[in-house]
Amino acid sequence: MKVGFIGLGAMGRPMALHLHKAGHELFVWARRPAVVGDLPATVCATPAELGQQCAVVFTVVTSSADVENIALGKDGLIDGMAPGSVLVDCSTIAPETARLIAAKLAEKNIAMLDAPVSGGVQGAIDGTLAIMAGGLPETIEMVRPLLECLGQRIVHIGPNGAGQVAKACNQMIMVAAIQAAAEAMRLAAASGVDCAKVRQALAGGSAASRVLDVMGERMVQRNFSAGIEARLHHKDYGLVLEAARKSGAFMPLTATVAQQLNALMAQGMGRADTSSLLRVLEGK
């Protein structure tokens, strides 16, 4: 199948490669064409041009505004994609933006899935991402073989926007768990106890988690090079709290964690791993 791919960053590039390996013909567009590098793909001049060529287009970019521009802006996908084609947006954006884009595309009979992913760069490389999809069931079935190239756990959450709501929930739990791990490591160190031993002991009990495993290890090793750049979690927390506000849901812990992320940003650690929340607690 001819598959379009926009957003060749740390996540997007390995995802695109999986589609290529599965035998699909790749078409790409990038704001900076240099990022395409040696990727085996046809480079298009605009998203619209890419849209003309492809039955399915994937986007994996940073912000709500990026996705909106690529899909609906000047020379956007909407000007090129044919009726019956599908946009699969794997970015993490606001649920209401996802709904808005889906509605505009639907006017031209172009289907859309919001299909944000979890699992990080390693999950993208291994093809083991968790994919949480919002959209029509028939749209999901249409692109399921493609999604299966990228991840093992593909869950249809509900209509458009529902995938992004699920991703917001994912980010809330994950970053709150990083903050909890950081506070535990901080308490251990401040009490003169070996952090590595504490982490090791906890990993066997009820407090065991992927975050304690991976981020806890980074904290013990004091290896704060990203992993996941904290600025992206900071961005996501803006979306989460906006969603909380829109729905009137009481989220006291999320609000507190968001402030620790603000402090992290203020201290210039936005491009380091989110395990740097430990350094915010240490005040150094």
Binding site: F250, M251, A258, N262, M265
Partner: protein, 288 residues
């Protein structure tokens, strides 16, 4: 002075009336025509739109709900094509939005000032509002006689946006202040102590504040009528939290307070005064 006034809600109407009382010639416009009638009865002229409300005036003032409203009104004001006009927005909006409107209006030769207020409906009626202004010295000089009809404590804080920054700071202090008094009362009650006595004792010490005195009394009376609606306080704290997010600023107390107001709106208390946060606390601790 010839003044245009846009937005005649709970705050705007008494403010415009005080300008009339001060001897100014006032032209009004409001989205809902019926809100204009009390002002027309009091001697104001009516305009058909914001552009008309600006035309032929030295000063135009807006008092509305949110950033998009202000931006739209000020586009209309700019369309009056009146270089030298001073436009003052007294609504509470985001500092960044105010600065942008200032830049946009400067292109049309209009000098824009943000001048949000504190003091509520009571202060608006009595003409005793606190006014915190951001913008040029020249604009402040033009607006000052109008400010003096509406307020008492009038401070030119700094450049464009500085008024809104001050108002956001005000909402941090009042938001946390209301929550602090409510928590102290919940604490006293759960300990079986008479909260009215607690209030009385605290008023004499370092915990004294206007909020303890006024809002505290209304909590004791369980008078949750607005006053200042909790959805508006939620909106204002959202401005604080969004600005903090953009700047990378850690405000843990404001964040916790914002969530309490968010929960009030979510549980149907949005139209009640923000002191109804007391009820939320009581519910959380099974004191209802």
């Amino acid at each position: 002075m010839k003044i245009g006034f846009i937005g005649l809600g709970i705050m705007g109407r008494p403010m415009a009336l005080n300008l009339l009382k001060g001897g100014h010639s006032v032209t009004v416009w409001a989205r809902r025509a019926e809100s204009m009638q009390p002002l027309l009865d009091a001697g104001a002229s009516g305009a058909a739109n914001p552009t008309q409300a600006a035309q032929g005036n030295e000063l135009v003032i807006s008092m509305v709900a949110d950033s998009p409203d202000v931006a739209e009104i000020m586009r209309g004001v700019a369309a009056a094509g009146q270089p030298g006009l001073v436009a003052v927005d007294m609504s509470t909006i985001a500092p960044a939005a105010a600065r942008q409107i200032g830049v946009d209006l400067a292109a049309a030769g209009v000098d824009f000032m943000d001048a949000p207020v504190s003091g509520g409906e009571v202060g608006a009626i009595a003409g005793t509002l606190s006014i915190m202004a951001g913008g040029s010295d020249a604009a402040f000089a033009v607006a000052k006689p109008a400010f003096e009809c509406m307020g008492k404590n009038i401070v030119h804080v700094g450049a464009s946006g500085a008024g809104q920054v001050t108002k956001a700071a005000n909402q941090i202090v009042t938001g946390m202040g209301v929550l602090a008094v409510a928590e102290a009362f919940a604490f006293a009650a759960k300990n079986g102590v008479d909260r009215s006595k607690v209030r009385e004792a605290l008023l004499g010490g370092f915990a004294y504040s206007k909020i303890l005195e006024n809002h505290g009394q209304r909590m004791l009376d369980r008078n949750f009528k607005p006053g200042f609606k909790s959805w508006m306080h939620e909106k204002d704290l959202n401005i604080v939290m969004q600005t903090a997010h953009e700047l990378g600023l850690c405000l843990p107390g404001s964040a916790a307070t914002a969530q309490m107001f968010n929960a009030m709106v979510g549980s149907g208390m949005g139209e009640e005064d923000s002191i109804a946060v007391l009820k939320l606390l009581e519910n959380l601790s099974g004191q209802a």
